[in-house]
C-alpha cells in the first residue's frame, strides 16, 4: 500500500518541486537515484545532507531527504521524514507536492486526522487535484468514515477514471462498508492494470481466500510475491491459500519465507510487527494442526494467545489441538 501510493505521488509531484532547484544537477542525480536505485539510499542521504550543509534552506534537499527517509522506512526515520517535509513547508508553505508527501507519511503512521488536515490545506491551493482527493478519501476511510470515503473517491474517479490509487482506496472503502463483491470488482480492475506494488495483490488475494476462491487467491498472491518477495503478509496469506488446497509442503515453505531470520527476532517482537507475528503463528498453528503435529500446533496457538488473549481462531485451534491430544492422535 505505502509503496504503491508513494510511487504514484513521486511520479506526479517531484518534478514541480525541483523546478527551481539550486544545485540543480546534483539534486537531479539524487532524485533519479532515489527512484531507481534503492541500494544507493544511504549515499543519497549523505549527499543531501551535504547539500543542506551548504544551503540549509534548500526546499528541494529537505524534500528529497524526507523522501529518502520515508523510503528507508524505519519508524525513527519516519519521524525524520516528517521533520524534513515540515522544514520544506516552513520555507515555502505553497508546495502542494510536499504536503502530499507529508500526508502520505501521516497515513503510513495511522495518523489519518493529521493527514486529512494537510490534504485539506493542500486542496485549498490545488482544488480538485485527484491525488490529493484520493488520499483524502483514504484518510476518511481510516477515520472510520467509509461512506464519506466512497463519496470522495467516486468524485475523484469521475475526474480521473485512470487513477489506480483512487480505485484501490475505493475498493478498501467498499470493503469497510461490507460491499464485498463491489470491492472485489474494483480491486480486480486495479490488479488488471498491473500496478508495480504488491498491496492490491495482497488485498485481493486475501479477499479471494476469504470467499473460498483459493485458486484465484494463489495466482494473485503469487503475482504479489513476484513484485515484493520480502512481503511477509503475502507469504503468510499464500501459505493459508496452499493449506486450504491441502498443499502443506508449499504452505510450510511460504511460512519459512515469512519467519524472522536468525537475529531478527527482537525486531519482529516489537509491537509494530505484532500483527504480522500474530498472523504468522496463527497460520503455523493451522498448518501443524493439519499435519497432526499437535505439540508444534499448540505452541503456535499459545504464542498467538500470548499476544492477543481474545483471539477466537487461536482459541478454537488450541481447543482442537487439545481435543485431538485427548483422542490420542497426532504427535
Amino acid at each position: 500500500m505505502n509503496a504503491f501510493v508513494f510511487a504514484c505521488i513521486l511520479l506526479g509531484g517531484i518534478a514541480g518541486v525541483l523546478a527551481q532547484a539550486p544545485l540543480h544537477d546534483r539534486l537531479e542525480r539524487i532524485r533519479a537515484d532515489l527512484f531507481s536505485r534503492p541500494e544507493h539510499l544511504d549515499q543519497d542521504v549523505r549527499d543531501l545532507k551535504e547539500i543542506l550543509a551548504a544551503d540549509p534552506r534548500s526546499v528541494e534537499a529537505h524534500t528529497l531527504l524526507g523522501i529518502a527517509y520515508r523510503a528507508i522506512g524505519t519508524q525513527d526515520l519516519m519521524g525524520e521524514s516528517i521533520a524534513e517535509f515540515r522544514q520544506a513547508l516552513d520555507i515555502d508553505p505553497s508546495l502542494v507536492p510536499v504536503r502530499l508527501y507529508l500526508a502520505r507519511v501521516y497515513l503510513d503512521l495511522g495518523r489519518a486526522a493529521r493527514a486529512k488536515e494537510e490534504l485539506e490545506t493542500a486542496l485549498t491551493q490545488a482544488p480538485g487535484n485527484p491525488q490529493l482527493l484520493s488520499l483524502l478519501g483514504e484518510s476518511e476511510r481510516q477515520l472510520k468514515n467509509p461512506s464519506r470515503a466512497v463519496e470522495v473517491l467516486q468524485q475523484t474517479l469521475k475526474a480521473d477514471e485512470s487513477s489506480v490509487q483512487a480505485r484501490y482506496y475505493l475498493g478498501l472503502a467498499l470493503l469497510d462498508l461490507g460491499q464485498r463483491d463491489d470491492a472485489i470488482r474494483e480491486l480486480e480492475r486495479v490488479v488488471q492494470s498491473s500496478p508495480p506494488v504488491s498491496d492490491p495483490y495482497l488485498t485481493l488475494g486475501t479477499l479471494y481466500l476469504n470467499t473460498g476462491r483459493a485458486a484465484e487467491a494463489i495466482q494473485t498472491l503469487n503475482q504479489g510475491v513476484h513484485i515484493d518477495p520480502r512481503g511477509l503478509e503475502l507469504h503468510i496469506q499464500l501459505a493459508r491459500a496452499y493449506r486450504t488446497k491441502g498443499l502443506l509442503d508449499k504452505a510450510e515453505a511460504q511460512l519459512a519465507l515469512a519467519a524472522p531470520k536468525d537475529g531478527a527476532a527482537p525486531a519482529m517482537s516489537a509491537y509494530q510487527y505484532q500483527q504480522v507475528e500474530l498472523d504468522l503463528n496463527l497460520e503455523r498453528g493451522f498448518v501443524k494442526l493439519q499435519r497432526g503435529q499437535l505439540v508444534a500446533a499448540g505452541d503456535a496457538f499459545k504464542k498467538v494467545l500470548a499476544m492477543d488473549p481474545n483471539n477466537e481462531q487461536a482459541t478454537r485451534g488450541l481447543a482442537e489441538v487439545n481435543r485431538k491430544k485427548k483422542a490420542g492422535g497426532g504427535k
Binding site: D42, V45, R46, K49, E50, L52, A53, A54, P56, Q75, D76, L77, M78, G79, E80, I82, A83, E84, R86, Q87, D90, L109, G110, R111, A113, R114, P266, S269, A270, Y271, Q274, M307, D308, P309
Partner: protein
C-alpha cells in the same frame, strides 16, 4: 611470611586498594530533603507522565550557598524550594517563597527549570516550564518571588509542551534573553493507544506519533518584558522535538550559540550570526545525526572543552541502544563524533537523560556524568534486557580524548537503580568538590555529596557583571597554571530540564597558584587577573 605467600598478599592488597576515583555519598536524608516527585501516571499512558521533572541550583538569597529548587510533575503537585543552611542540611521554604507552582488546571504538568537574573537586580529568578503552564518567578530579593509571567510576556500556549530552558544574552545588550525548548504537539484528547492490546502491555507512544513544535526565543526588552523573537531570529523550526538545550560560543566569535537535543529527529546547532539572527549549521557541523547519518533520540546535553583544544565540545545523552554522543569541536566549524573510541560504550544500553561535563576530581579536565532511566515503564515486557530503572554513569576523563567508566568505583550511591531524569551540579557545601542532585520519576531525588577523595586544587568564580548581565552568563574564562591552560564559559544551562550552579568551578590538579585568569565578558570587556590563589571562591566584578 615466606616469599611466595608475601607476594600473594601484596597482590591481594593491591587488588583491594582504593582506586583513584572520587566517591559520591547519598546525603539526601541527612540534608533533610523530603521532596517526592509525582508523575501523575495513569493507565492512559499520557506521554508526559514519563518524562520527569528537573531540578535547579539557585542561590536565591545570595548567601553564597546554592539552594535547591525541585520541579514536581503531576497537575496540582507542588514544586519545592529548599534553603541551604550551610551545615549540610536544607529547609523547605516553598510556602514563604511562593514558588509552589501548583495551579494551572487538570493538565498543567510541570517539567523543567531555568535560573537567571533577568532584571539584573542581583537576585536570581526562576523560569519553570511545563505543559501549557510556563511560569516566570521574579525574585523579590527578600526570600519571596512573584509570578510575573503575564506581565513579562513569556506565557506558553495551552498545549505547548516546554522542556529545557535557559537564560543567555544573545545580543550583548546586557539583559538575559530566554530560550525555551519545546517537545511535541501532544493533546490529551488525542492520545493514541500504543503497544500490544493486552492487559499491562499498553506503552508510552513513540515520539513519531506526534509532530514536533518550534522552540521559542524571548528577547529581553530590558524593562521587565520580553518579545517573542523566535521567527525573526530563525530558531522556530517546527521539525524540532526539543528536550535538552545548552549554550556555548562554539566558534569563539564572541557570540553565544545554541544547541538543542531533539528526540528522534536531528539536533539543531544554531550559530549566532551576531545580528539577532541564528543559522542552523547542524548539517555542516556534523552534530545533527549519528555517524551513520541517522537521527537519534537526544535527551540531555552539555557543552564544554573536554579535550583541551580551547573549543567547546558537545555531549548528548540518547535513547537505549544508542550511544551517548561526544562530538569533539575541531575549531573549524566541524565536529567529529568520537563516542565509541572515547570509551563511552557502556552508555549503549541505558537511556540517558540528565548530564553534565564537570571536573569531578579537580584534576584539570572535564568528566562526564549521566543519569539514566527508560521512558517505557513496562519495557521489560517488550525487551527483557532493558529495565525502567537504571544506574547512573560516571566517566573519568583520562586524557587524549578518552574516558573511563568509573561508575562502579565511585561509591554505592552510584549503584542504585533509578528512573533518572534531571541532574544538576553545584558545590553545595563550598568545599571545592562538585556535588550532584538527581531527580527520578515518581521517586525521591538524591543529593550526592562528592567526598573529594584524591581531589586536586580548584577555584570557583562568582562573576558580577556591570555592563554585562549581573551573573556574567556567557563570559569566557581562560585559566593558566603550571599544569596548562583551560578555556571555560560561565554557563549554567545544560543537562535535561535542569539548571546548574551559576558559579564557574575549575579543577586545577596539582597547581599551587593560578598564573593568569583572563575573562572576556559578554559586553566585550577583557579582564586579566594574575597570581591568583587556588582553593577559593573568587568574586570577580566586571571592570
Amino acid at each position: 611470611m615466606s616469599g611466595p605467600r608475601w607476594l600473594v598478599a601484596v597482590a591481594f592488597a593491591l587488588a583491594q586498594a582504593p582506586d583513584a576515583s572520587v566517591r559520591f555519598v547519598d546525603v539526601t536524608a541527612k540534608a533533610t530533603i523530603d521532596f517526592v516527585h509525582r508523575s501523575g501516571a495513569t493507565p492512559d499512558k499520557y506521554m508526559i507522565e514519563t518524562f520527569g521533572s528537573g531540578v535547579a541550583w539557585i542561590d536565591y538569597d545570595n548567601d553564597g550557598f546554592p539552594d535547591l529548587y525541585f520541579v514536581n510533575g503531576a497537575p496540582g503537585s507542588s514544586n519545592a524550594l529548599y534553603h541551604n543552611n550551610h551545615d549540610g542540611t536544607f529547609t523547605d521554604v516553598t510556602a514563604r517563597a511562593g514558588v509552589a507552582d501548583n495551579g494551572g488546571g487538570a493538565h498543567a504538568y510541570k517539567t523543567g527549570v531555568a535560573v537567571g537574573d533577568f532584571d539584573n537586580d542581583g537576585f536570581l529568578d526562576l523560569f519553570v516550564t511545563g505543559y501549557g503552564a510556563n511560569v516566570l518567578y521574579r525574585n523579590n530579593g527578600d526570600g519571596t518571588f512573584t509570578d510575573v509571567t503575564a506581565k513579562a510576556g513569556v506565557a506558553s500556549g495551552p498545549t505547548e509542551w516546554s522542556t529545557s530552558a535557559g537564560f543567555f544574552d544573545y545580543d550583548h545588550d546586557g539583559h538575559l534573553d530566554l530560550f525555551v525548548a519545546n517537545y511535541v504537539d501532544f493533546r490529551f484528547d488525542d492520545n493514541p493507544y500504543c503497544g500490544l492490546r493486552k492487559d499491562g502491555y499498553r506503552m508510552y507512544c513513540h515520539p513519531t506519533q506526534f509532530d514536533g513544535t518550534a522552540d521559542r526565543l524571548f528577547h529581553n526588552n530590558g524593562d521587565g518584558t520580553f518579545t517573542d523573537a523566535s521567527r525573526k531570529a530563525g530558531i522556530a523550526n517546527t521539525a524540532g522535538k526539543g528536550l535538552g538545550v545548552t549554550f556555548c560560543d562554539f566558534d569563539r566569535d564572541g557570540n553565544t550559540d545554541i544547541y538543542v537535543a531533539n528526540d528522534t529527529v536531528r539536533n539543531f546547532l544554531y550559530h549566532n550570526n551576531g545580528d539577532g539572527t541564528f543559522t542552523d549549521v547542524a548539517y555542516r557541523a556534523g552534530v545533527g545525526f549519528d555517524p551513520n547519518g541517522k537521527p537519534r533520540a537526544g535527551m540531555g546535553t552539555d557543552c564544554a572543552d573536554v579535550d583541551g583544544n580551547g573549543y567547546p565540545d558537545l555531549f548528548v545523552t540518547n535513547f537505549s541502544e544508542e550511544l551517548d554522543a561526544l562530538f569533539l569541536n575541531h575549531g573549524d566549524g566541524i565536529f567529529e563524533e568520537v563516542s565509541d573510541r572515547a570509551g563511552l560504550a557502556s552508555s549503549y544500553i541505558p537511556l540517558g537523560f540528565g548530564t553534565r561535563l564537570f571536573d569531578v576530581d579537580n584534576d584539570g579536565d572535564l568528566d562526564i556524568m549521566v543519569t539514566n532511566g527508560h521512558v517505557i515503564d513496562n519495557v521489560k515486557l517488550y525487551q527483557p534486557n532493558l529495565t525502567y530503572e537504571q544506574k547512573d554513569l560516571l566517566y573519568e576523563n583520562i586524557g587524549g580524548g578518552r574516558f573511563k567508566d568509573v561508575s562502579s568505583q565511585s561509591g554505592p550511591a552510584l549503584q542504585v537503580d533509578r528512573i533518572g531524569r534531571g541532574l544538576a551540579v553545584a558545590d553545595f557545601d563550598n568545599d571545592g568538590n562538585l556535588d550532584v542532585v538527581i531527580t527520578s520519576v515518581g521517586q525521591r531525588p538524591v543529593l550526592l555529596r562528592n567526598t573529594g577523595a584524591h581531589s586536586g586544587n580548584w577555584i570557583m568564580i562568582r562573576a558580577k557583571g556591570k555592563k554585562s548581565n549581573s551573573f556574567g552568563l556567557g563570559a569566557t574564562v581562560t585559566i593558566e597554571t603550571s599544569e596548562g591552560r583551560q578555556v571555560r564559559e560561565i554557563n549554567n544551562v545544560a543537562s535535561y530540564l535542569s539548571s546548574n550552579d551559576i558559579r564557574l568551578h575549575v579543577g586545577l590538579g596539582g597547581a599551587k597558584i593560578i598564573n593568569r585568569i583572563e575573562i572576556r565578558w559578554p559586553s566585550g570587556t577583557q579582564q586579566v587577573l594574575t597570581n591568583v590563589a587556588v582553593n577559593q571562591i573568587l568574586v570577580v566584578e566586571e571592570p
